[in-house]
Symmetry: C2
Subunit: 253 residues, 2 copies
């Protein structure tokens, strides 16, 4: 079993064996299992642990006064929910699972210690937070200036890249347990409209969506439709393709 967290950060930097051991150790310290559709951390919560997605799928969301849910980001294995616990007093949004999910709990003090030490690991951790910023900015563009089709294409393509990063995409296909309602809440569209767009994408042989698995049949075409450019993910280690990943194997290096 790989350490997806380390894999992800190795997009940015190469770790020493010692670093990797440390990371492995942190991940295995304490793990908690959540069911589908449970909250890991709620808006307003204070916690002294960092939460790392080990397996499964979660998201950041907020419920608005009128009851609408807006999903702001999906969290895939290797993603840290709250690297910043030790700086901000309380959560300003909720983290919830979509499927059964394993979460590693890492003492905030340990992370704080790593983050404030001028070593490679600290930079890699901050890189994670900063690419989150990039992803959010991209989502704003999605919502502001892309139509439904482009928006969904962008979301799907970004997920493909992120799953590849942590070795969870084989052959351009990956686990896709989210409902069309989840997708709607993430894209700011209606479930009905999401449905119609997905239908069209299937008809066009862009994607294959069956059994909770998404296969991107025509990644290049999807990427074009999305107007996707990977620079905001800051994958500076691998240069073999313009999205920073080896498309043949879905692997790095």
């Amino acid at each position: 079993m790989h350490n997806r967290w380390a894999m992800k950060m190795e997009q940015y930097t190469r770790f020493s064996d010692e670093d990797r051991r440390l990371l492995d150790n942190l991940v295995s310290l304490k793990q908690v299992q959540f069911g589908a559709r449970e909250d890991v951390l709620r808006e307003g919560d204070r916690t002294d642990h960092c939460h790392l997605i080990v397996a499964g799928l979660a998201c950041r969301y907020k419920i608005l006064p009128n009851g609408d849910r807006q999903i702001m980001a999906f969290l895939v294995p290797g993603d840290l929910c709250d690297a910043e616990v030790f700086i901000l007093a309380e959560m300003d949004h909720t983290i919830g699972t979509l499927t059964p999910t394993t979460v590693a709990m890492i003492p905030g003090a340990v992370i704080e210690d790593l983050l404030t030490k001028p070593v490679g690991l600290a930079k890699a951790l901050w890189w994670g937070t900063l690419t989150d910023l990039g992803v959010l900015r991209e989502r704003i563009i999605d919502h502001g200036r892309r139509d439904a089709r482009e928006r969904i294409a962008h979301l799907l393509y970004e997920l493909l890249i992120r799953y590849r990063m942590v070795g969870l995409a084989r052959d351009d296909s990956f686990d896709f347990p989210m409902t069309q309602i989840d997708l709607a809440d993430a894209t700011g569209l209606t479930p009905v409209h999401v449905n119609r767009v997905l239908q069209q994408m299937r008809e066009e042989q862009l994607i294959l969506l069956r059994n909770k698995t998404l296969k991107v049949v025509a990644p290049e075409r999807l990427k074009d439709i999305a107007g996707f450019s990977a620079n905001y993910l800051h994958l500076n280690r691998a240069h073999d393709t313009d999205d920073g990943l080896n498309r043949r194997t879905g692997d790095l290096v």
Copy 2:
């Protein structure tokens, strides 16, 4: 002349005289003047300096393949454009001015030094970056689940709060040099539609917009319309009102 940067960070923590002197010093090291509608930093640029808005108004934006511009955030005095230069290789978006703007250039190495030292200043700096994250998340909600009126209300109210924070709002009014086109590019709406919404807000005596100055006539009503909750700004120092600011004077403490 106040140091808006320090003022902003003092929402989070209280500085020692020594810290404040250091910040003052950093701001005055080197300042550059930009005209209106000039780029400070372009997508793809590499720089070894951090850029801090001292006076004026700028924004983060991206131009899409089809020529559309999406403004992702406004940068007001006291905002840092790129605290993270020393981590990320290159800019993934552009920083441009809207009005003539004074920018302080701070050597990246100095910031890096501050950020990686386990002192209060480091936390305050990261707090800045993390609240940026919160602001972005809020903008996603804007675009995903709020209609034009709510979106504009939210943007205006947030600006009011942020201007108050740095002592640039008196009596609920502040400099408002942006055009309706800028506003449209930020909200993901059409200039025409922005115009109609603003008109309506004026008719309702919500706002007064004249001579490049915005006066929020009915802040509470605007806040309600926006569905605004300030928790995402993490203003933990001041507790006198629920948005963390003293509404009478627009000042803190």
